[in-house]
């Protein structure tokens, strides 16, 4: 019974119509809790009652713990918990065997009712911008929060709108049209720095969270679509920042990157993995925290490529490669596999890996390190090399998130959710296994004392949170060919 709790709430039939699912779930619990005892001796009847109630309570507690702050978005859930607490306080006077569960339930109710009151005031977020907000400690983005979005027009002016985090494409367009005082029919699209246009559908939820590193949201009429050009600032930097970070120690950089990754990883709610896999439209729930964490992976990767491609001097480029290998080594030491892989993948980007003159000059010691790191990325036998490494590590770990998501996607797409109108529990178990891995990775708190900070920590912290990158692969490749032209 105990094992079923995460599965019960994942029955897709229920989750697709979320409001209903919660009522069915609560109803089941209430029925179990208040199940009438079958005829028998007084002793048997009491035992039966205690057992059913305990079962209902244990599942409720696990369910509440898994949902954590998401419970506050469900008034029915909070009401149910309070009602259950009322029944339990009464029953525990007679049924002493239930007493030990009272404080647990009390704790949960107290936490949520206080937090629900405190978070009534909507917060404003600009997490997806490059502003100073990045320096603040990350808090999870919740569905009821508001977000400020910059939406650009074809003439590169922008308007800032304020919408709910879970706002749909339709709602964003309506807000923009209202701001621009236009009755023209507008389309919303994502414009990448390379000029690729991706139309956003009116029923897409949380459209902003998948904006690429240098991508921007644009709104225009259909007629203007063909004339849209990326904003000049989307191109990214024209000079590298090596002069800034070569003075910072590799260990400090890895440490601050790990601190930031840990903050982002901690904000990801386990349910976001489900929304991501099953499609967030069907839940009308944001995956913003997960998207931010995934976005960071790309950002670190592009940071490596950008810095190398913007470094004109061969000897300096060799220094850069050495620096990145050192940072990667420290990330691995801090069990930050997300940034570790991002750096190694950045170095194996064609724009960097083709620079044979640079790689030739790299000392063999570093070449060996890099070869070893790269072998961990070997995808053969379903990433066996990486998986073996992770199982040997103790939490806290920052996992290589894209692989976990790939696992879930394959499980979802390769297995039917229903077989003969019955829930395919085997599939749910496999998905639950991946989520358990995420849970395991953060079952221990991150220890900030693993590194003795130098004096310039604030500077390092500021730097790693604001990497400026070029995210246009063609531009990066061009820069690379300029550094070391093709040999004829």
């Amino acid at each position: 019974m105990d094992d079923m709790s995460p599965l019960l709430e994942m029955k897709p039939k229920y989750t697709r119509s979320h409001p209903q699912s919660i009522f069915v779930f609560i109803f089941n619990l209430v029925c179990t809790y208040h199940a009438p005892s079958p005829p028998g001796s007084e002793q048997e009847r009491l035992e039966y009652a205690v057992n059913s109630k305990r079962r209902a309570l244990v599942i409720t507690l696990r369910w509440a713990n898994t949902h954590s702050y998401l419970l506050q978005e469900e008034p029915a859930a909070l009401a149910f918990l309070e009602e259950l607490y009322g029944s339990l306080s009464n029953d525990s006077r007679v049924l002493r065997a239930l007493k030990d569960l009272v404080p647990d339930l009390e704790k949960i109710i107290k936490l949520h009712s206080e937090e629900a009151k405190a978070t009534k005031k909507k917060t404003l977020l600009r997490q997806f911008s490059n502003g100073e907000e990045r320096l603040q400690k990350k808090q999870p983005i919740r569905n009821q929060d508001d977000i400020l979005l910059k939406v650009y027009c074809s003439d590169h002016t922008y308007t800032t709108i304020r919408v709910a985090v879970a706002a749909t494409g339709r709602e964003v367009i309506a807000a923009v049209a209202d701001k621009l005082c236009t009755t023209e029919e507008l389309v919303l699209l994502h414009l990448s720095s390379a000029g690729e246009k991706l139309m956003l559908k009116p029923n897409d939820v949380s459209v902003f969270s998948t904006v690429s590193i240098n991508g921007r949201l644009f709104a225009c009429s259909r007629g203007q679509l063909s004339t849209l050009t990326p904003h000049p600032e989307q191109e990214g930097p024209t000079a590298g920042s090596m002069s800034t970070f070569e003075l910072m120690s590799s260990k400090d950089l890895a440490y601050q990157m790990t601190m930031y990754d840990w903050e982002l990883f901690s904000c990801v709610h386990e349910h976001e993995l489900l929304y991501h896999t099953f499609g967030r439209q069907s839940f009308r729930r944001t995956t913003a925290n997960l998207d931010l964490f995934l976005r960071r992976f790309n950002q670190v990767q592009l940071w490596v490529v950008t810095e190398v491609c913007l470094c004109g001097q061969l000897s300096k480029r060799v220094q850069l490669l050495k620096k990145f290998i050192k940072i990667a080594a420290h990330c691995r030491e801090f069990k930050n596999l997300n940034s570790f892989f991002a750096i190694i993948m950045g170095m194996s980007n064609p724009a960097v890996s083709r620079l044979s003159q640079t790689w030739e000059k790299l000392p063999s010691k570093f070449k060996k390190f890099y070869a070893e790191f790269e072998s961990m990325m070997d995808p053969s036998r379903n990433h066996r090399s990486y998986r073996l490494t992770v199982t040997k590590l103790e939490p806290p770990i920052i996992p290589f998130m894209p692989l976990l998501l790939k696992d879930m996607t394959f499980t979802h797409e390769g297995n039917k959710t229903f077989i003969d109108n019955m829930v395919n529990f085997e599939k749910m178990r496999i998905i639950a296994n991946t989520i358990r891995q995420v849970k395991h990775c953060r079952s221990q708190p991150f220890n900030p004392d693993i590194c003795q900070p130098n004096k310039n920590q604030a500077e390092v912290r500021g730097y790693v949170r604001k990497f400026c990158v070029i995210d246009n692969q063609r531009a990066l490749t061009q820069l690379s060919y300029r550094l070391e032209p093709r040999r004829t």
């Binding site: 907000e133 400020l148 701001k179 005082c181």
Partner: protein
Amino acid sequence: MPEQSNDYRVVVFGAGGVGKSSLVLRFVKGTFRDTYIPTVEDTYRQVISCDKSVCTLQITDTTGSHQFPAMQRLSISKGHAFILVYSITSKQSLEELKPIYQQVLAIKGNVEAIPIMLVGNKSDETLREVETKDGEAQANQWKCAFMETSAKTNHNVTELFQELLNLDKKRNMSLNIDGKRSGKQSRAERLKGKCSVM
């Protein structure tokens, strides 16, 4: 980030609800709306002439609430000229400009070379709390220019922007692309009696 060198950036500051967006919208689009939508940050573009060539006037409309100090600092450091707006119906709104002026002073250092216009908006309103001479006195103290406007009745709006451009002595700018002095501008000249340029 490649700097667009032929952009002339004007930033509009002021307390919430004094009519910053209304002034900008009246100037750029010629429209006026009665409903109030709080602004976070919007930009607008207008083609003007500068030193006999064409350049873009970029107007940044800012938020009246003080929730975003970082955004405010950024717009000040990027701005070339500033419009500080209060409402003549609210003494408080003039008070609220003081920390903003101090901020501009702190970031730009020498404000005398920077075009700044103090604007008393809503001059069509009858329930006046700030007299014209109080506004002038404040402008005097701040060594900046002063004007009263009404976005609603379109009073002094174009004049405000032209006057602001005239204040910049390093460039020769005009709202008219052909660079000729039009009727509108000579009207601005005539109005100079009403607006005191310090």
